[in-house]
């Protein structure tokens, strides 16, 4: 069966396989969908803005849309630092109710305090991946503390939330999926909370 979401490493360095597997498994779990790792050597070099020394997330999304495979969503993961023109940085960006999302690991791997906990870093990246994918399904930001759809503006806020949808967001997600013509119940496992 074809995957609902293709997960694609588009970073400059080599992909961390452990991280990519975790993203694949946990996003599938969060939304009750099929996910698959996608590998291709193409990179959105044009999205780099030399003046800012960052990549434009908007440009990456447009580039992804041009490469999408019909019926699939694409979640791109990069080690490049992302920005949108008015903001200093973004952890990620997604098309609201669209097909493409991108998440940057650049600021999520920043060391805080003593030492780095790789599991914590993976968890942060997974949370932002679930979050951006949530937007592609049409979910908006949520005010429920702990919900993965809360907007995180710093690492403390990323760490504070779970990687799952809150009850109302989960209900909303199911409604949106129904509307979108998907009938997961019975065909996919129930999203684990």
């Amino acid at each position: 069966m074809a995957a609902d979401v293709h997960i694609w490493w588009i970073g400059a360095d080599a992909a961390d396989d452990g991280l990519m597997d975790a993203i694949r498994d946990r996003t599938a779990e969060a939304f009750g969908i099929q996910t698959r790792l996608y590998r291709h050597a193409d990179r959105p070099h044009h999205a780099f803005d030399p003046r800012r020394g960052q990549h434009s997330s908007t440009a990456i999304l447009k580039w992804l849309v041009g490469r999408e495979q019909p019926g699939h969503r694409t979640l791109a993961i990069t080690d490049a630092d992302l920005f949108i023109p008015v903001l200093t940085f973004v952890y990620g960006e997604a098309q609201l109710g669209g097909r493409a999302a991108v998440v940057s690991t650049a600021r999520l791997t920043i060391q805080q305090g003593d030492g780095q906990d790789p599991a914590q870093v993976t968890e942060r990246i997974v949370k932002e991946c679930v979050h951006e994918l949530g937007h592609t399904f049409g979910l908006l930001h949520c005010d429920t503390p702990g919900c993965v759809m809360t907007r995180s503006l710093n690492l403390i806020e990323v760490d504070a939330k779970a990687r799952t949808l809150c009850g109302p967001c989960e209900t909303r997600y199911r409604e949106l999926r129904e509307k979108d013509g998907h009938h997961e119940q019975g065909t996919h496992p129930h999203p684990r909370r």
Binding site: P85, V86, L87, T88, F89, V90, L140, L153
Partner: protein, 457 residues
């Protein structure tokens, strides 16, 4: 307010900025729209309500500051945030001076943008809540034009509402300026007689003969000056309500005449012979202690009982001080319209002085004091010294040899009236003259204002 109802308009000539910013904020659940230039934004502002405008400073044609100024004209409560790529203090100061909520230097920190939006939404929600609460407050504390949150006053309102439905005579008791006529008008407005006239007569302002003619009317030639037949107030109020203010001050003869009218429901014009049927609801009022007047033999007991069918006692303002802030707001709003002056309120000191004052002239005195404060105030807040609550009046030790006796009298009466908050009864007592004499002097010196009710008795 929910985020969907927070409408944000992004105004920027760069498409990428419009798209990215609106995309970013849309995910927070706000309703977003974009405009590529100032004129388009202003058209959108004229066509619908917007909570927040995010406007780029540098745009070809109309710049951000021009958009800011024009948008404030169209919708004064819109929060305008100026976005600029140039972090100059001058620009920021200019924007803030022109009424911008704040400014953001591009590119801005996501946290800064989010916090600013949340802050604006919360602030606007507070303003709306405030407006709503005021409306609820006014609705709950109103009885027609009367305003109070005092439990005793609410009992008065309840009693007045019930009494309004009946035909019974009502006797309103209360100190000067407590709103006896206002209550009488409210009762009339709530009564089945509301479509017919409400006629008010101040019994103390007229001599016995004049009052008799005023109340009952006269036939032509019945006395000197009666050049034509005239209907009295009883007849004028036909089908409606006759408000007899200062009923405690009428002469023994008039007391008897009035008693007859109340018993027979007929009046005979002065100089006339044929009694005329009258259909009026009587509301009488006095600031005197009628029970004592009856005991002292100054007021007929039978008339007292005729009038005292439904007695309503209006408490003095000093016994309902919690109403003072409410009344201040009410009067400032009304006086603002009358005087075309925008006053935001009273300073903390002024409020303390107003709360402390004993208000011998009650609500009317408060209104007069606020009117004075409004005229004197130099800025948008009335200060304690603008109220003239202490040391009002002329200094006794001031000697001006150029003054005529009339001028001295005029000044003294003015000062005493100011001191009593326009309370004529009290002023007459202080001056040791009767009220008719004081009314004549008020008229002589032109101290009375346009309306008949300007001074309180």
């Amino acid at each position: 307010m929910s985020k969907e109802r927070t409408r944000i308009l992004v105004v920027d000539d760069e498409e990428i900025v419009r798209e990215s910013l609106s995309g970013w904020l849309a995910k927070d659940g706000y309703t977003l729209a974009t405009a590529h230039d100032g004129p388009t934004a202003l058209t959108m502002l004229r066509e619908g309500r917007w909570s927040i405008l995010l406007v780029d400073l540098k745009m070809p044609g109309m710049d951000g500051l021009q958009v800011l100024e024009a948008s404030k004209q169209i919708q004064p409560d819109v929060a305008v945030v100026i976005m600029t790529a140039y972090a100059t203090v001058e620009t920021a100061v200019e924007a803030m001076k022109s009424g911008a909520y704040d400014y953001l230097v591009k590119p801005f920190d996501p946290e800064e943008l989010s916090l600013m939006m949340v802050k604006i939404v919360a602030q606007q929600a507070l303003v709306r809540e405030n407006v709503l609460l005021r409306k609820v407050l006014k609705r709950d504390f109103h009885f027609r034009d009367m305003l109070s949150k005092n439990p005793a006053m609410h009992r008065v309102f309840d009693l007045a509402k019930s009494a309004a439905k009946s035909q019974s005579t009502i006797l309103i008791l209360g100190e000067s300026g407590t709103g006896k006529e206002l209550l009488a008008r409210a009762i009339h407005a709530e009564s089945p007689r509301q479509a017919s006239p409400f006629v008010a007569v101040s019994c103390a302002a007229l001599t016995e003969t004049l009052l008799e003619s005023e109340l009952f009317g006269h036939e032509k030639g019945s006395f000197t000056g009666a050049v034509a037949r005239r209907k009295g107030r009883f007849e004028q109020a036909g089908g409606g309500t006759l408000f007899l203010d200062e009923i405690g001050d009428i002469s023994a003869k008039l007391q008897l005449d009035l008693l007859r009218v109340l018993e027979e429901r007929k009046v005979t014009r002065v100089g006339g012979t044929e009694p005329v049927d009258v259909d009026v609801r009587i509301i009488a009022a006095t600031n005197r202690d009628l029970t004592k007047a009856v005991a002292d033999g100054q007021f007929r007991e039978d008339l007292f009982y005729r009038l005292n069918v439904i007695p309503i006692l209006l408490p003095p303002l000093r016994e309902r001080r919690e109403d003072i802030p409410l009344l201040i707001e009410h009067f400032l709003e009304h006086l603002g319209v009358e005087t075309d002056r925008q006053i935001e309120g009273v300073s903390a000191d002024a409020l303390a002085a107003l709360m402390r004052h004993d208000w011998p002239g009650n609500v009317r005195e408060l209104r007069n004091v606020l009117e004075r404060g409004m005229v004197i105030a130099k800025d948008k807040l009335i200060q304690a010294e603008d109220l003239g609550l202490s040391g009002a009046g002329i200094r006794a030790d001031t000697f001006d040899p150029s003054l005529t006796l009339d001028e001295v009298e005029r000044r003294h009466i003015t000062a005493v009236l100011q001191h009593t908050g326009g309370n004529v009864t009290q002023a007459a007592r202080t001056l040791d003259i009767d009220r008719v004499t004081l009314y004549n002097k008020i008229r002589k010196y032109g101290l009375r204002r346009g309306d008949d009710d300007a001074f309180n008795t």
